[in-house]
């Protein structure tokens, strides 16, 4: 719904982000499970004063068209995220390791699509 950070435009500097405005509700990330058996998927975020209202708001904002059977709300502050600057060390090493992809096996025809 609303972005916690604004991104800088070309040639400008990013605005300094202090703490959230004191009367602003915390930001929650919302995960919804579409059907039994599937996993919860991130659908977006919203503001709410507490966990209970976050679930209610998620119900009203993200399940209006019968999208879900279960809602998770996680306060955005509690999410640990990888940093974009570490992209190289985190992900590039796996680029060179093609043998980790299961493409070196012959799959019998009877198995069909995998």
């Amino acid at each position: 719904m609303s972005s916690p950070e604004t991104s800088p435009y070309k040639g400008t500097e990013a605005a300094d982000h202090g703490p959230a405005r004191h009367n602003e509700w915390p930001l929650w990330e919302i995960f919804i499970r579409g059907q039994h058996g599937l996993s919860h998927r991130h659908v977006g975020s919203l503001h709410a004063p507490d966990a209970e209202m976050a679930i209610k708001n998620a119900r009203d904002v993200y399940t209006r068209r019968n999208e879900g059977v279960s809602i998770w709300a996680v306060e955005a502050d509690n999410i640990a995220a990888s940093s974009p600057e570490e992209k190289g060390s985190l992900y590039e090493p796996s680029n060179a390791k093609v043998y980790r992809h299961p493409t070196f096996f012959d799959i019998p025809e009877e198995v069909g699509a995998m």
Binding site: M1, S2, E52, M53, K56, N57, D60, V61, R64
Partner: protein, 251 residues
Amino acid sequence: MTDPLFEYLCRMGDNTLVLSHRVSEWCGVAPVLEEDIALANTALDLIGQTQLWLGLAGEIEGKGRDADTLAFRRDVWDFRNVLLAEQPNGDFGQTMMRQYLFDAWHLLQLKALKGSSNAQISAIAEKAVKEVTYHVERSGDTVIGLGDGTEESHQRMQKALDRLWPYVGELFVSDAVDQALSAKGIAPEPTSLREEYDTAVNAVLAEATLTRPDSDFAHQGGKTGVRHTEHLGHMLTEMQWLQRAYPDATW
């Protein structure tokens, strides 16, 4: 007297119609986006229920009037909603207080109507009760959150309660229509819901640190149509404008 069943169905349908329109007035201007969508959802639930109640009313009346005709072609004195439903939105707190005071009654009313001897009424109540269970949870939580919130929100909620309380009593007034229907097991005696209402509302108000007004004086005249407040006429002017100006206009 007109058929008590028709009267009764108009009361149910007009309550949801008028309150739905009031709530829809927040669309696009609510204090935060999440509340804006939640209020719109509530208004849509209520308008859905209106279609069922007024649709059935038109059927029972048997004069070829459908839900739309009843909603858009009747004048203010033919409306049968309680006065509480037509009260103006005021600030967000007043809107939520009105919603809670109505929802708490609405849920008890619909639970009782689920056991109606009239199968169509019981089916409508069965569907509506799920929606209204959520409405009252949400409005109750908001009343608690704002009542037990900041000094300003507390004061505004107390003011809203004081302003709206005199309209609560009408929900429980019993008249000839109610008596005719309760005798046939179609609808509950309104007075029979009061005790449970008080228990539920007192608990929420206590948690919200709000003081229930001493006086149970009750304004009346909405559900009988005898004396609506001045607000309903203004609201209908807006709500019915298009169908009045361009009768039978469609999309």
